[in-house]
């Protein structure tokens, strides 16, 4: 199946208020897309984690919010891109283990459990891109 993108919008994340704004927009889209309340909370919480990471650890960036479809499946894909220092050891961060970046790790590892597809691309000096997709169910 090929993924169809049915709508796409981009939002900046430069202030803390933008984190809340992105979260609200994702919640509204998930509801319109037919997500139940549990799936809506899961996707919205994931969006909140990733937006906050971009703002706190990434020095800001942007969020792309897309309605996607794959055959009969309907979902939402979120892309968060920041201009931060990047992550040298992604596996270690995803394990959520060590203290200086514990909040970063918790947000990333927790979000990975809330969505259906999770991709992260990061290396020192290049910033971080996280792409998540969730289909219409918890």
């Amino acid at each position: 199946m090929t993924l169809r993108v049915e709508s796409s919008a981009e939002y900046p994340i430069v202030r803390e208020a933008d984190v809340i704004d992105v979260r609200r927009r994702v919640r509204k889209l998930a509801q319109e897309r037919g997500f139940d309340t549990f799936a809506t909370a899961a996707l919205t919480t994931g969006a909140s984690e990733l937006a906050r990471n971009a703002w706190v650890h990434g020095g800001g960036g942007e969020a792309r919010v897309e309605e996607v479809a794959d055959g009969l499946r309907r979902g939402v894909r979120l892309t968060f891109r920041d201009r931060g220092p990047g992550i040298a050891d992604i596996e270690r961060v995803l394990a959520g283990g060590f203290s200086t970046i514990r909040s970063l790790g918790l947000g990333l590892s927790g979000t990975r459990r809330l969505v259906d597809e999770f991709e992260i691309d990061s290396s020192p000096g290049r910033g971080t891109v996280v792409v998540v997709t969730k289909w219409t169910r918890f």
Binding site: F38, G96, L106, G110, R113
Partner: protein, 127 residues
Amino acid sequence: MRGAIPILRVGPNLLTTVHVELDDNIADAFQQDVLQAIERTGAKGLVIDISSLDEVDTYVARVLADTGRMAGLMGARTVLVGMRPEVAATLVRMGYAMEGVETALDVDDGIALLAVRRSVAGAKDTA
């Protein structure tokens, strides 16, 4: 931002309902308001009602747990009440452990739990 989240005195406890989305400024002000209210009133219990929060991410969860721990250092016990089903499911799925704060279904149960804890503590004191 001080006073953005009202704190009410209910008997020996303080009751507060988080009805706005927390950001750093509101969170800091809320924690300061709670701690000063405990000092001013001598409250032994704090009930934080989160029934109007549709989602709680790890940031908000940490703010709430930290608030409970701060209140605990001043001798007030905190009960978090009104967590919505979607929020409970999401936090557990994320692997987030809400450490250091007790929870109850709603405000009534939270107040009842605090009363039980106080009577147990009182029994120990007089024993």
